[in-house]
């Protein structure tokens, strides 16, 4: 079943060259997809468009058959609860503990305290942060922050997990751990979309690779590599 569909999407900021220009692709349920390309190719823009942090200049984006572009503002929290996002800069809440950071994702969907106390430790154990639940983000390493970000994205069991440069700010060993974790999540049925320019990771996994250059799709290949 089609889960994400970009239809001739163009994104252009005032007076500048288009960041994305006529981008179209489909992602089915349960797929593991890399979107690759050099810095500034439009990978992060693509993620922001999917969660409607920004609107495209033209074209449409469908999520599970529903237009993200035409969605009313009131429906956006619902959309974002179905898409777990792992941000390049982690976007964790520094004033909350590790446990609370993950609990937030459940609180926003009105989960009870009982559910939160049940789910959060499980998710934290899954990402290897079970023993750091009471720590605050400034007390964590880069890799741990990225895992915390993944834990929060997973807590409410999203339909798709989107990761923007998940290995961009961490060392290779931590990167491998993160990718193993994402593979494990994918094996449990969650669709994974990773925007990255980490050649080593892309080449090692041999998954579907969509390559973007100068705002346009240059190639889209199953079992691909970074340079195809």
């Amino acid at each position: 079943m089609k889960q994400v569909q970009f239809e001739n999407v163009k994104k252009q900021y005032d007076g500048a060259a288009p960041v994305l220009n006529g981008v179209s692709f489909l992602i089915d349920d349960g797929e593991f997809v890399f979107v690759v390309g050099p810095s500034g190719a439009g990978k992060s823009t693509l993620v922001r468009l999917l969660i409607r942090e920004e609107l495209p200049t033209s074209g449409d984006i469908l999520f599970c058959g529903e237009s993200v572009v035409g969605m009313p503002n009131e429906a956006l929290p619902g959309l974002r609860r179905r898409i777990g996002v792992v941000f390049q800069d982690f976007k964790v809440l520094n004033s909350k503990t590790v446990f609370e950071n993950v609990a937030v994702a459940l609180e926003v969907v009105d989960s009870t305290g009982e559910v939160i106390n049940d789910v959060v430790p499980n998710v934290l154990n899954m990402v290897g942060l079970g023993d750091k639940a009471d720590r605050f983000p400034p007390q964590l390493s880069g890799g741990e922050l990225q895992r915390l970000s993944i834990a929060r994205a997973l807590a409410h069991e999203p339909d798709i997990l989107v990761a923007d440069e998940p290995t961009g700010m961490i060392d290779p060993a931590a990167s491998d751990q993160i990718i193993s974790l994402l593979e494990k999540i994918n094996s449990m049925g969650t669709t994974i979309l990773i925007a990255t320019h980490d050649k080593r990771i892309v080449d090692s996994l041999k998954k579907r690779v969509i390559r973007i250059e100068d705002g346009a799709i240059k190639s889209d290949k199953q079992g691909g590599t970074y340079v195809q």
Partner: protein, 296 residues
């Protein structure tokens, strides 16, 4: 629902003590300064009004003017809405006052009898400005020999007391606006300090209500508590100052309003205004500061 909000607020205060304390101190001091300023204006205007009420017109009557006519004039004057009080001083009473004043001058007292001194009416008005008019009306009465009051002093005092009322009321209004602006700006600063977190919450699917509720609750609680603390301090200060030092149990709200109210009632009203302001400013100040973070 409120228990969760309280729990959330407690955690926030515990983790960000410095921010919470400084917010509370700024808001309390602002309410205190506003209340003190308002009180100073009210007490000043009350003091001026008390001085105004001391001024009087003294109407002296000719020797042959019948006492019955003077008493008629007194009765008529008492029904005048401008008049605060009218006292009749008979020849005998005038002599008695004269004797008391000059008790150390026996020779002088021997040469004077009650028949020489004129009977008079001492008229006090509610407003200083009415003294001239009352004096003018009595000048037309046949039996009046002389009218005394400090015309120049009264005119000058009337001018400056009016200036005090106008300036006082204007400053109070301006101070309300400034104080409200300070409190709203303080709440803005508190919310802006964590603006990024609200944006993150929105990105992970939080609804506007989820983001707004705890912050508005925090703003209202801060506003109410700081206003209550300021009101209690002001209540104690005003009650003490008005009763113990200035000696008035009643104060004017403003010089233009002719009615006085009890000092305790005034303190209560001031407290109610501050507490209501605290709640309303806490609510709308927080809501306004949050607006930019709730945009999609």
């Amino acid at each position: 629902m409120y228990s969760k909000l309280f729990e959330n607020l407690k955690t926030t205060i515990a983790r960000e003590r410095l921010l919470a304390v400084s917010t509370f101190v700024v808001m309390t001091l602002t309410f205190l300064v506003l209340g003190l300023f308002l009180g100073v204006v009210v007490l000043t205007q009350t003091g001026i009004r008390q001085l105004e009420e001391q001024a009087q017109v003294t109407v002296f009557f000719k020797d042959d003017y019948p006492e019955a006519n003077i008493l008629d004039l007194q009765t008529k004057a008492k029904t005048d809405s401008r008049v605060l009080d009218v006292t009749y001083v008979s020849k005998e009473q005038a002599f008695s006052i004269f004797s008391e004043i000059n008790k150390n001058e026996p020779l002088l007292l021997e040469s004077i009898s009650a028949s020489i001194l004129p009977a008079s009416l001492e008229i006090k008005t509610k407003r200083l400005g009415d003294l001239s008019a009352i004096a003018g009306e009595f000048e037309k009465v046949d039996g009046v020999e002389e009218i005394k009051y400090f015309r120049d002093v009264v005119e000058k005092f009337k001018f400056w007391s009016t200036v005090t009322y106008v300036v006082g009321a204007t400053l109070v209004l301006a101070f309300f606006v400034v104080s409200y602006a300070v409190i709203v700006a303080t709440l803005h600063a508190v919310i802006d300090s964590k603006g990024v977190e609200y944006e993150i919450l929105k990105l992970v699917g939080a609804s506007d209500t989820y983001v707004k509720k705890p912050l508005i609750f925090q703003g209202v609680v801060f506003g109410l508590i700081s206003a209550v603390v300021a009101s209690v301090v002001l209540f104690l200060v005003y009650t003490l100052v008005a009763f113990k030092f200035l000696g008035f149990s009643q104060v004017l709200l403003f010089g233009f309003i002719p009615y006085k109210i009890n000092t305790l009632v005034f303190s209560g009203m001031l407290g109610a205004v501050l507490i209501a302001s605290g709640g309303v400013l806490g609510y709308f100040g927080s809501l306004n500061a949050l607006k930019r973070y709730l945009k999609y």
